[in-house]
């Protein structure tokens, strides 16, 4: 890790590093996520899962393709420099959102040539896009890797199977990270995934590891190692990042299907508190620093929300006669 201070320290390769930066991103990401949960009653909140998202996306360089899960794509977008107001406008469907209201900004986040998401309601295609992006990187000899995050429910899909199998068969530099929060709506992974999520990944003949998904440094290191592996031509990696869905499937889901003890046990492993404690213990951060960080996140988010909420709606000019790309 490089020099830690309150300013963003970007390494020459473009990767965000610095433990304080990681904490700042998790704090801002959580603030944005929870704020949108107050505005959108169907919001898929990422509370408790910030370390998987921030840790993995922060390990990418500018030439790598990152594809977030539908839970937390705005947090992933923040890691790679997206504008807060534009992200929020995309959730609200305002004309100032990236797609001018043509596509939902809640499950996709910012789209760039090196960052996609879901383009329909289906789970699975993003994994195949990671496989394809890795194939492109290999054919182009770019040295890039691809990263995709997905839930424990998605490991049961056909596209999970086909995407990982293809990546392994073709020895592609793809990184598949299961943002394993242990629930697919009301279905626990313990029921839906006989065997285990980790064993699924191991079945494809690729390197498969499990990490504590609530330890952002562990996640960051696992993805960094996977990227090295991919860039060296050693093929794909599967990472089972064990975390927990603190809230419901959507913000108003009280999830009566869970027992309270389980939630309590995981509350003690909150990723933000853990890193904060660690940095304070190491003398890198003070309580006041953390308080300032939290206040700044709140202020930035509130200002961005106010702007986006006041932004205009799109009109008919955002529609089209056909959906084709022309020459």
């Amino acid at each position: 890790m490089t020099h830690e201070n309150a300013a963003t320290t970007a390494s020459p390769s473009g990767a965000v590093d610095g433990r304080v930066d990681l904490l700042r991103l998790m704090v801002l990401g959580r603030e944005l996520d929870q704020t949108l949960g107050r505005v959108d009653h169907h919001w898929h909140a990422s509370l408790g899962e910030e370390a998987v998202i921030v840790g993995s996306f922060a390990a990418l360089t500018a030439i790598d393709v990152g594809i977030p899960h539908y839970r937390g794509p705005l947090i992933a977008s923040l890691v790679r420099g997206s504008d807060l107001r534009r992200l929020i406008a995309g959730v609200l469907g305002k004309t100032t959102g990236q797609s001018r209201g043509r596509w939902r900004g809640d499950v996709t986040g910012e789209v760039k040539p090196n960052q996609f998401g879901s383009f329909s309601g289906s789970l699975g295609p993003p994994l195949s896009y990671a496989t394809g992006a890795a194939l492109a990187a290999k054919l182009q000899r770019s040295g890039g890797v691809s990263l995709v995050l997905f839930g424990d429910g998605t490991v049961n899909t056909g596209l999970f199977h086909e995407s990982l199998n293809l990546a392994s068969m073709l020895r592609l530099p793809a990184i598949y990270v299961c943002q394993n929060n242990q629930y697919a709506i009301s279905t626990p992974a313990s029921v839906a995934v006989p065997g285990s999520v980790l064993k699924r990944g191991q079945g494809y003949g690729m390197v498969a590891v499990q990490v504590d998904g609530n330890d952002v440094l562990a996640v960051h290191e696992a993805v960094r190692a996977a990227a090295d592996r991919g860039r060296s031509g050693e093929g794909p990696t599967f990472i089972d990042a064990l975390t927990y869905r603190v809230g419901g499937h959507w913000i108003t889901d009280r999830s009566p299907y869970r027992n309270a003890d389980e939630a309590k046990a995981w509350a003690g492993r909150d990723p933000v508190r853990r890193l904060t404690r660690h940095l304070i213990d190491e003398g890198v951060l003070t309580e006041d620093d953390f308080a300032a960080m939290t206040r700044e996140a709140a202020a930035r988010t509130e200002a961005a929300l106010a702007q986006a909420a006041a932004d205009p709606w799109p009109d008919a000019s955002a529609l089209a006669a056909n959906a084709y790309a022309s020459d």
Partner: protein
């Protein structure tokens, strides 16, 4: 000029594009030294194998198409073969739900320049004839192309590869190795979205695709000989986006429209053509629009049943005589 089969013409077009643009790659089952089912990639492994751009895949249609979408989003130009058209339904999610919609949904930021090649159609081996292109033609953002011969096929595969949209390229198995056509040696393209009048006439417009186009041309000769009816036979070549102008101009001349295709009549791509002409060419019509296409039952297996199932010359002639009576 060379006389090429439709299969040879498609491979020739593919070869030219692979040589001209290193972003183009082929993905499919058994397309390496095996040369592809029905020789769909004949000779390409020898010529391009060492560039790493002839890539063999396992039986993973949904994954193959999804992977191609991902590669296309990153600047490559994949030509993925889904061996038989009935397997296309396995890939509906990445193809219909997503690939065709990404350009619009990203407000023009991203493009998906990919081609999906697939084989269909009644043929001597009696298998894999099913053709679900009509379902794909319902998905916004896709293009669906269906050549009827070598000359069109070569120009269309090149256009499909150069097109920045996902293009489904449908190859009729009964035509791939059946007949040869003169194909220019010099480079040429056939535009996507442009129909071709294969036989001019003024008494009735017949729109027909693939193998049915050839049966329709025979029917037209019989109609001229026996009834003095001069049919104008149009090959759409592209199902989606449909060349409405060529068809409407012809109907304004003839006043009568018959549509012939090999896939089921109910909800087939001919239904869209009929609706377009009924909406936009109504004042020119002097007779009902008639579709000649199979009944809505599964394609039977036994050869004599298939003969009864598919439109033949006689059923096309009969349909034209019916509209001519009005």
């Amino acid at each position: 000029m060379a006389r090429l089969s439709m299969s040879e013409a498609i491979v020739a077009g593919l070869r030219e594009e692979l040589a001209a643009d290193e972003r183009v790659f082929c993905l499919g089952q058994d397309i390496g030294s095996f040369g592809g089912a029905l020789q769909s990639h004949r000779g390409l492994w020898n010529e391009f194998g060492k560039t790493g751009r002839i890539i063999e895949a396992p039986i993973s249609e949904e994954g193959m198409v999804g992977m191609s979408v991902g590669a296309a989003l990153c600047g490559m130009r994949p030509v993925v073969e889904i061996m038989f058209a009935e397997f296309l339904n396995l890939a509906m999610v990445p193809l219909a739900n997503e690939a065709g919609q990404i350009h619009f949904k990203t407000d023009g930021l991203l493009r998906v320049p990919m081609v999906v090649r697939t084989m269909f159609g009644t043929n001597a081996d009696l298998g894999h004839a099913e053709d679900y292109h009509s379902m794909l033609a319902h998905a916004p953002g896709l293009k669906v192309v269906m050549p009827s011969g070598a000359r069109d096929a070569k120009g269309l595969i090149k256009s499909a590869i150069r097109d920045d949209n996902p293009v489904v390229f449908c190859e009729h198995m009964g035509l791939l190795h059946a007949r040869r056509e003169e194909v220019p040696d010099e480079e040429y393209l056939v535009p996507i979205g442009l129909a071709d009048v294969k036989r001019p006439g003024r008494d009735v417009t017949i729109v027909a695709t693939a193998l049915m186009l050839h049966r329709t041309l025979k029917a037209a000769e019989q109609l001229a000989r026996e009834d003095g009816i001069e049919a104008e036979v149009i090959d759409p070549r592209t199902i989606l986006p449909l060349d409405r102008e060529t068809i409407l101009a012809s109907v304004r001349k003839s006043g009568r429209l018959v549509i012939v295709h090999e896939t089921w009549r109910t909800g087939g791509s001919g239904a869209e053509m009929a609706a377009v002409v009924a909406e936009e060419g109504f004042s020119a019509l002097r007779a009902p629009i008639v579709r000649v296409a199979p009944a809505h039952i599964p394609i039977p297996y036994s050869a004599p049943l298939q003969k009864l199932f598919y439109p033949e010359e006689a059923s096309i002639v009969e349909a034209v005589r019916r509209v001519a009576r009005y």
